[in-house]
């Protein structure tokens, strides 16, 4: 983890409520795809955790959805303004588990962190299948970007207005070596129940600190209580426990 000041280079909407934020600053502490950052915002006490969509030397790309005060404040910020950000938070996905034909499953805004994962896996020459699930056509984002990485991309929409009708679980390919999933808990649970084989899942949680100090985001697992912010947000399928 590292605390740093980042300068906004770009903050543009991709859909009605999803924005892409490009930040200039020291991104060297982002060590794995699936990690997140924690952003301090004026007049808000708690930082806001946002998953990392892409990272390069000196450049950080985040995709966020306006769901409350914090993200709404973020959405009105302009290039040139600076942000106090904690980077390199969370364990991230374990790319060593991917096998030859990894499958990436994203639900809504949960698709964002899969982009950096897909880029890593493609660099390793893997055949990467991506299924992105959205509610409706107008909410779809980054389909082209995943294509451009050379992924085999399927988009599903719950209302059938675009791509395959239904949920990501309705777009599962025939065979794959390992899956990585990120999205809302009901989607993760559906994947857990429907998707064959082993995988890793990235969870969301309401966090206090974001770096393991406050026990605010603890989740029970088969391996005991785990902090989503520090022991996660990515967990192996085999350790996940669902609340009844």
């Amino acid at each position: 983890m590292k605390k740093g000041i980042f300068t906004i280079e770009q903050n543009v909407p991709l859909t009605d409520s999803v924005y892409r934020l490009r930040l200039a600053g020291d991104a060297s502490h982002v060590t794995a795809p699936g990690q997140f950052v924690n952003i301090a915002l004026p007049e808000l006490f708690l930082r806001r955790p946002i998953s990392v969509c892409d990272a390069a030397p000196g450049l950080l790309t985040l995709i966020y959805k306006t769901v409350g005060k914090g993200t709404e404040k973020l959405a009105v910020m302009s290039p040139g303004q600076t942000l106090d950000i904690l980077t390199g938070l969370g364990n991230g996905f374990d790319v060593s588990l991917a096998g030859k034909r990894p499958l990436l499953l994203g639900g809504g805004i949960g698709s964002a962190p899969l982009y950096l994962l897909a880029r890593y896996l493609r660099q390793q020459g893997k055949d990467v299948a991506v299924v992105l699930g959205f509610n409706t056509k107008s909410e779809v984002f980054y389909e082209k970007e995943f294509h451009a990485l050379g992924c085999d991309v399927t988009v599903t929409t719950a209302d059938g207005s675009y791509g395959t009708p239904g949920f990501v679980t309705d777009g599962l390919p025939e065979n794959y070596s390992f899956y990585y999933a990120c999205g809302p808990e009901p989607m993760l649970r559906a994947v857990y129940e429907r998707a064959a084989g082993s995988g890793q899942m990235s969870f969301e949680a309401r966090m206090g600190c974001g770096f393991g100090a406050c026990m605010g985001c603890t989740r029970q697992t088969l391996a005991g209580p785990k902090r989503v912010c520090r022991d996660g947000p990515v967990f192996r399928k085999e350790e996940i426990l669902w609340e009844a």
Binding site: E43, L46, G208
Partner: protein, 305 residues
């Protein structure tokens, strides 16, 4: 340059800044960020006799000038703390640590304190009788002077280490609880724990926290903490550790003027993991600005003259 050192219950501190229990884990996460030996000491995560998972999620909510938490004393239990956390702490922290203890019965408190009494690195036992987020215990001991005194006696019977009772602000007369603890033999007091509070989600129309209520901390409670430290300082002669929304070197000085011998920093660590390091670094300049030679000399300064 003057001195920042103070003495808390006979144990010297290089400076009065102490990360508060529940915001600093067992020190490990922060030791990876900076050398935590710059701290006066720190109060580790509230420890109980048995391991506890704590409350269901969500455990955290936000509000203006602070946050609510209802963690519910998640901790690995005193055996694991002694066997796993303290050995790991010895590697990165070379000062006496403040051991924060919670319980649900007098036996719990005595058992856990007796275990921690054997740990050489434990310099003080901070006994939490003020957790607003657990039922049948915690705060129920802290809201009644007699019950508070009974915990003090149970703990003093099993330890030679200084015992600091952590008090709740959710009372009509905190001075009465403070006096009862002093009369029962407490060596010091720390206050305030969090203020019981609630937020409601307008979308779900339910409390934001799964526990319903939670504890408010952060700058929002600072003036309440200053008032209570001031009142308790007048009521007792044992040292007072002040906490509640402290976020700057100026806040530390204000707390000490109110009567605090040492000052804990809680919620500020969660927004900024470097908060305590930065507050300590800022203290000398703040002392000079306000004409303070030695911090020890200003304790309770607002009561004189």
């Amino acid at each position: 340059m003057g001195s920042m050192s103070v003495t808390l219950c006979g144990v010297p501190l290089d400076n009065p800044v102490i990360p508060a229990s529940g915001t600093f884990g067992y020190g490990y996460e922060f030791a990876q960020l900076y050398d935590i030996n710059c701290l006066g000491t720190f109060s580790f995560k509230g420890t109980t006799r048995e391991p506890r998972f704590g409350n269901p999620a969500p455990r955290i909510a936000e509000c203006q000038g602070g946050m609510l938490n209802a963690v519910g004393l998640q901790n690995p239990g005193v055996e694991a703390v002694a066997a796993r956390e303290l050995p790991r702490l010895r590697e990165c922290f070379h000062k006496p640590v403040m051991a924060n203890v919670s319980g649900f019965s007098l036996e719990d408190y005595a058992y856990t304190c007796a275990k921690l009494d054997r740990e050489p690195q434990v310099g003080w036992l901070e006994v939490n009788i003020s957790c607003p987020n657990v039922h049948g215990g915690g705060m129920s001991f802290g809201t009644d002077p007699k019950a508070a005194a009974s915990v003090v006696r149970a703990v003093k019977a099993v330890t030679k280490k200084p015992v600091i009772m952590k008090l709740t602000p959710n009372v009509t007369d905190i001075a009465a609880v403070a006096r009862a603890c002093e009369d029962a033999g407490a060596d010091g007091l720390s206050l305030i724990n969090t203020v019981q509070a609630m937020r409601i989600d307008l979308k779900t129309r339910r409390p934001l926290l799964a526990n319903g209520t939670g504890g408010l901390s952060g700058p929002a409670v600072f003036p309440v903490a200053v008032r209570m430290v001031y009142q308790v300082y007048e009521a007792v002669s044992i040292p007072v550790v002040g906490l509640g929304g402290v976020s700057s070197a100026e806040d530390v000085i204000e707390m000490m003027l109110a009567g605090a011998t040492a000052v804990q920093v809680g919620a500020a660590n969660l927004r900024d993991p470097y908060a305590c390091r930065d507050i300590i670094a800022a203290l000398p300049a703040a002392m000079e600005r306000y004409g303070i030679e030695n911090l020890q000399d200003i304790i309770g300064g607002a009561h004189h003259g």
